[in-house]
């Protein structure tokens, strides 16, 4: 009974934060668009680029080299980048698991995919290929940062499905970004969070903090019943059940594996600081 109550609270919290962030970003984009076409609204006009922490990442080189920022970006993006890295250092990529609207979008589509493909859902990519494909996002991260540094332009905007998702109706989105958004949406029917797993450059950066962050997900071997429900619940296909701490660069800190959610034993898969143990 107690576990059910906890389960409900944590899942509700995650659902609320995901919806809130999705609506917040959608409203920001809509307000900006309406103001641009001359509709008077008593709300501030803020570009999505201004509140994008990844914008801060891509403009770091420009900022260090010239003191300026890549076009379309503002100092708020740099501030959010620093804040985002600090949060990731403490709690891991919690932005991905609880707040990223594109992640939420993929999860929503994934629910339909789960109904269509049942147990095959999220198990369709061969493990041998999947293992290497997971490193693609570091290539994307390197390429985006390099190209932005060389051109001093926001090159990622032309392929960014996140920007496309909230601006597809404005006429300001590159065709390539729309195509990538469609591809990600369709892939989400087969694979859970395909953009996050294989392509997301910001997820790649935050994912590195899984190796060092202070409060990882930990598994207590002494109480674990080895049911592997934590493994089955992980959207990123991480094997939680074999290690003492989840240190995979792919973890998105969604907490789906925790006791009270997937794990049926109380106080076994938990969030805790501390060192040592075998890593999952």
């Amino acid at each position: 009974m107690r576990i059910k109550a906890k389960k409900s609270r944590l899942r509700t919290l995650r659902t609320v934060t995901q919806w809130a962030m999705f609506l917040f970003v959608a409203v920001l984009a809509l307000v900006k668009y309406l103001k641009e076409i001359g509709v008077v609204i008593p709300l501030p006009e803020i570009s999505l680029h201004a509140v994008c922490p990844f914008g801060g990442v891509v403009t770091v080189y420009e900022f260090l080299a010239t003191g300026g920022l890549v076009q379309k970006l503002h100092s708020s993006a740099l501030a959010l980048m620093v804040i985002g890295l600090l949060v990731a250092f403490l709690f891991g990529p919690i932005f991905c698991g609880y707040f990223c609207p594109l992640g939420t979008w993929q999860e929503w589509i994934g629910k339909l995919g789960r109904k269509l493909f049942k147990k095959k859902y999220n198990r369709l990519v061969p493990r041998a290929a999947d293992k290497y494909l997971r490193y693609l996002r570091y290539i994307v991260l390197g390429a985006v940062v390099y190209q932005t540094a060389v051109t001093a332009k926001l090159v990622f905007a032309d392929v960014d499905p996140y920007y496309a998702l909230f601006n597809f109706y404005t006429g300001e989105v590159a065709f390539t970004a729309i195509l990538i958004l469609i591809a990600v949406t369709l892939l989400s029917l087969l694979v859970e969070r395909p953009w996050c797993k294989y392509f997301c450059p910001y997820g790649a950066l935050l994912g590195l903090f899984n190796l060092i962050h202070i409060f990882p997900v930990r598994r207590r071997e002494s109480t674990c019943i080895h049911c592997k429900k934590c493994d089955a619940a992980c959207p990123m296909n991480i094997t939680v059940s074999t290690g003492d701490a989840v240190r995979s660069h792919q973890c998105i800190t969604c907490h789906e594996c925790l006791s009270g959610l997937a794990c049926p034993v109380e106080d076994t898969v938990i969030v805790a600081a501390g060192k040592g143990g075998k890593q999952a």
Partner: protein, 166 residues
Amino acid sequence: MKLKPQATVFFSILLVLAGILGSWALGWWQTDSGKTPQRLETLNAMGEAGAYDPADIRGSYTLSEINNLYEVPLEDLADAFTVERSRASGFKLKDFETLFPDPDSEIGTSSMKLFVAWYKGLPYELKEESFLPAPAAAILREKAPLSQEQHAYLDSHTLPAADKGR
């Protein structure tokens, strides 16, 4: 030390809000670039210091704002870039792509930077190849203090007005 997962979420939200508040208090929280470009420290061709830097022209500027900031007549701006005079005032530079839809036409914000800089005789470093529509080149040749080099650049970087692109 064990932490409730809910607490990690609340602490994260708290850190983000505190970080935004802190950066705002320190003056680091800017969500727009404002509408005031940076000023040049060097003299222009007329020996004037402190003019606005044409390199700081942004895609969000309207022709009217460029007219006010850089003191280039609105009619010249409209005619140069084949914008109808009746809608020139509120026309934004980022909307050039509606006038020049060919993605290879190269006519965009950088073209306006070049036009304004040469029109006013302001220093401007060409960081990328910029093309101008024929009317813009004609206005520059007629009204701007161009050097031989600049004339030669226009010879090779002017696009015919008829197809509004390449």
